[in-house]
Symmetry: C2
Subunit: 633 residues, 2 copies
């Protein structure tokens, strides 16, 4: 059962779709203090677990750390971090009783989940206003279903968005893209999408195309489509401040950009240099921004990724000026060690600074609000601009759209990716752990940058990561400029990659139907074993395996130089290894097993009595035969 | 069998103690190219493993990454790093045949171990000169014994150095130290040492004491000793450039500091501001520096840790000047995004820059050498200054000394700690993996900063880490200024910490005797399971368990919110849980088991037919009864 508690005068974050009556705060099941800020406190028994928080570091069980909901341009997903790109204010407290809490407030909510004191949780909302929702139920899965009904059905992308996708910051010319396409095709590597990072734009200006690189962009898009490849351009949040650039001029003339305390346009630096930040919280500005996508959809584009929309700020014009003054003073004289540290702080403190986030304002449909108080819905509302426009213009399930920053509510119109990451083996496991956590919060279409964005990938890392990626709805290989090439044909043993990618296409009918069902039924696609086997003591702590749909369990290999791993079976299952067209099957009993998995194999465990469909391999979703299926299990 | 190959005119790095005849290079068992640089290449069969490289990131099996031997002030021990604090040029190639290689060259050796191409290893020595040693043998352990004989017996510290130790950058006053002592004693928490970080010095000047904080240092040292606490001060490599400071004046007057290309003293900035870098490669300078420790040993100090001796350089005087000029220009005008990046690069590029390492020189006993060509022995030779002096003055096993930077050879006179790290759960496992790797290279007295140096620790992280730390010869809890307090009495459940620390003291007779034996017999204290069970396929890939001595296996819990873990037993063993005075025992058969381990328990596995001694708990090594032992197994 869900209850809503209204404290103060909360803003409408667009998170929920069902309007509930307010329950009296006296019925709130946890200790709560209101006032200038809201504090929720509860005790934790030794075996209590806490699930949720969507995109975050650490375990599926979030207990024992302090998190902050604060959409952050944070590439280093190390354990000490408190915030990543998304802000997802939903937790399930799972003890003798099960109770979920959704804190609907777009400011920086702090979640001390047994960090300061191991047996106490304290949630602090930096505001006198919020909607608090509590959900109770018999099981975590049931609680999630109730919550997901409250927040509305999850976004479903076009079918082809379930194909394999290749991305790279640095693909610049038409030839770059054609090479990627052709190298996949000639190596028997399936592919449905190639991404266009900031390189395709004219001077990093949103909704422009570098005509030098793409003299006839529409023909180029059509040509790629004729090869069953969708081109997916990036759109950044900031609009380059440049007179004569129509998007900027329109936004400026209509007052659609965020302003400083005096009402002047807030100026900050990102890729294009100084930009205006569209005020996505303002309905007119948001609709105006949504219509800009037409510049690209008119050219045949049918998918986008929205980036830099936390918003990431390299610096503000004011912050830079102050740093320059400080550096100028420090540069004139002989400085000591503290001068050196001062210099370092001056430069390092420029990006994503709380001072800057506190110094600009939104016109939230008539109400002036400081950015820091609504920070966490900025990216979600940017993506809402796009998804509202797409639905209005093209109908549902026609456009691919996903975002880096997000807030609950954005799951109805778009997917997310887990943002910039590293080519680290440990990210395979972090990727796995985030899947159920974001599913709880409504995000079904999701995935990590396979192979890792920053730093250099190795072939074995990419293969093992893909062996998880074959199950994630968004399956995208992405890397940063200047890192080692990591397309599936770059490592010599291309057949191994063909074997693994073929498995993705064989599984698409199953993944797609499971995905649709989970969207329709407000269900989780990926679940911790603890949700399905609450009385199994070992299962309750397993965090390197996941239940998938109602039929399967996944347990990828996530360590280098391993030919196998141990896996815990909660009940008898069929251990399946998929590789290219090959399928090997072995019945395993309940218990702990050591299983071997080669670099070109995908391990999967199917529950006794269940079967899943397999299609024939194909090089694109367009060529995939979804009718003639084989069943295994 | 060991062979030595001499290429060019190698410098004497002090790594080995046995002088072998040179074998003709035609007998070198791997492909080798000589010339301006030396390149060693060999093929890797699919199941070949590579062990070694001492202090490094990633697995016990180093295959699949590119490493660089380059002593680095690198706090972020993430998977993408190539170098940490130590440079240990020894690997064992373990395939059908087993062959070890030691590259004795103090420059930046690159180890591409199946990174560029999965089936090829390539080692590049940036010099025309090196001693190459190859060792073959039947087993890895045998190869290590031969190699360790070559490089000489490992350092043995005083017995009390096996007690539990507490450190913190930030303990400043006498009261700070007394509080730490008293809080341990009154909470039944054993303790043998408290560390003094840079705070104790006068303006960070080596071999000085802040007399404001410690008006009568000798009495203070004596008072702590009366409580069975040894104070262990830090010594940094750089000597503050300050006229009137006798250490600097002496070094300066004698020309004992490194110089620039023109022969002027090289000036760089570290904690004290501008320093002179003692030229430890010069025997006279090294002996002079060693004698400086007397200032503290005269006051009763009997242990030191040598830090910042990679050497870490915050900046050079020249580099800072250039950066200031650049920043001054960038501060005068309106800059664009590239100006901002230029600003960032100017500041971030200042520390530990290769330009600086290439711009100063040593007088290596008459030969002028550029620092970059001998970088990796700088820290080792600093510690040699101390250990030579100590042995001469006090004899063997009298002084505790360990170092951050190291090179093989330094293991004879000192220990190492694994340098600055983070309060990350993943570091427990990295700590475990480094143990056998550094043991191969001679370093027996070693350990990581338990609880993590940077960022904030939680009680459960510290407890789990201590459960590995009870087995490491150096068992030190250390944290950085400004992080959450992490002494064993800071988390509420102090009894749990008392239970775990008691186990350390119960185990000291076993750990100490095993340690001594491994030093005497050139053996490894910690070994990968693969070394002991070469024909066990599962064991050969286990990297979260270690063999300890000839009797035991350890398998700590290293993940948060876990009450248990799976463990692989290669043969029947006794599963022991130690907690305070309690011992529980369970016989387990060969195979995979799930075992539960509470937060106050230390898990240990004893091989069938073996027994290990346990002492009664004690609050310090001085109070430990090493005679009256109980045997378990």
């Amino acid at each position: 059962m869900i209850k809503r508690f209204k404290i103060g005068e909360p803003l409408d974050t667009n998170a929920v779709v069902e309007q509930l009556d307010n329950s009296p705060i006296s019925e709130f099941p946890l200790s709560v203090k209101t006032g200038e800020k809201i504090e929720i406190t509860f005790n934790l028994a030794p075996d209590d677990k806490i699930y949720g928080l969507g995109e975050a570091v650490r375990g599926i069980n979030k207990r024992g750390w302090i998190y902050e909901s604060w959409c952050s341009d944070e590439i280093n997903h190390t354990e000490d971090k408190r915030s990543l790109y998304g802000a997802h204010n939903f937790i399930i407290i799972s003890g003798e009783k099960k109770l979920a809490l959704f804190v609907d407030n777009p400011g920086k909510v702090e979640w001390d989940l047994g960090y300061t004191s191991a047996d106490t949780a304290k949630i602090t909302v930096p505001s006198n206003s919020a909607y608090l929702y509590t959900v109770d139920g018999e099981t975590e899965r049931d609680i999630v279903r109730q919550f997901r009904k409250l927040i509305g059905k999850s976004y479903i992308p076009p079918f082809w968005a379930f194909g394999y996708q290749q991305s790279c910051w640095g693909y610049a010319t038409e030839d770059d893209f054609r090479n990627v396409r052709d190298n996949h095709r000639k190596n028997n590597l399936p592919l449905d999408c190639i991404y266009m990072d900031i390189d395709y734009m004219d001077s990093f200006k949103d909704f422009t195309i570098n005509r030098g690189l793409f003299p006839d962009f529409k023909s180029f898009v059509d040509d790629m489509k004729a090869h069953n490849i969708h081109l997916i351009p990036i759109i950044d949040a900031g609009v380059k401040n440049e007179k004569g650039y129509s998007v900027y001029d329109e936004g400026h003339d209509n007052g659609y950009f965020c302003t400083d305390k005096d009402g002047n346009e807030f100026e900050c630096g990102v890729w294009p240099g100084i930009v205006g930040l569209p005020d996505f919280l303002n309905t007119n500005a948001r609709r105006w921004f949504g219509r800009q996508y037409k510049a690209l959809t008119d050219l045949g584009i049918d998918g986008f990724w929205n980036d830099m929309n936390e918003p990431a700020l390299f610096y503000s014009a004011d912050g830079l000026k102050k740093a320059q003054e400080k550096l100028s003073k420090l540069s004139e004289k002989e400085i000591d060690i503290w001068g050196f540290f001062g210099m370092k702080d001056a430069v390092m403190g420029l990006s994503n600074s709380m001072d800057d986030y506190s110094s600009f304002y939104h016109d939230f449909d008539g109400k002036k609000v400081c950015h820091k108080d609504v920070h966490n819905i900025y990216g979600a509302f940017m993506t809402r601009a796009a998804s509202d426009y797409f639905e209005e213009e093209f109908g549902k399930e026609k456009m691919l759209i996903f975002s880096r920053a997000s807030y609950i509510g954005a799951h109805r119109g778009s997917g997310i990716w887990f943002g910039d990451n590293f080519s680290w083996w440990s990210h395979i496991l972090l990727n796995l752990k985030m899947l159920p956590s974001v599913n709880m919060c409504g995000f079904l279409y999701c995935g990590a940058d396979l192979g890792g964005f920053a730093n250099n990938c190795t072939g074995d890392l990419l293969l093992r990561w893909l062996q998880l990626g074959v199950f994630t709805p968004l399956m995208r290989n992405h890397r940063a400029l200047g890192t080692r090439a990591q397309e599936a044909y770059q490592f010599g043993n291309t057949e191994d990659f063909a074997d693994v990618l073929a498995v993705r296409y064989r599984l698409i009918p199953y993944i797609y139907s499971t995905f649709r069902r989970c969207s329709d039924e407000n269900d989780m696609m990926f679940r911790p074993l603890a949700f399905d086997y609450p009385n199994d003591k070992i299962a309750s702590e397993v965090e390197d395996q996941l239940m998938l749909g109602d039929e399967c369990m996944i347990a990828p290999i996530y360590e280098q130089n391993k030919n196998g791993r141990t896996v815990y079976l909660t009940e008898p299952m069929t251990f399946v290894k998929l590789s290219g067209e090959n399928v090997t099957i072995e019945k395993l009993g309940k218990g702990i097993h050591y299983v071997e998995v080669a670099l070109n194999e995908v391990p999967l465990f199917i529950k006794d009595g269940k079967k899943i469909p397999l299609a024939k391999p194909a090089l694109s979703t367009a060529e995939l035969n979804t009718e003639n299926l084989e069943y295994i299990g």
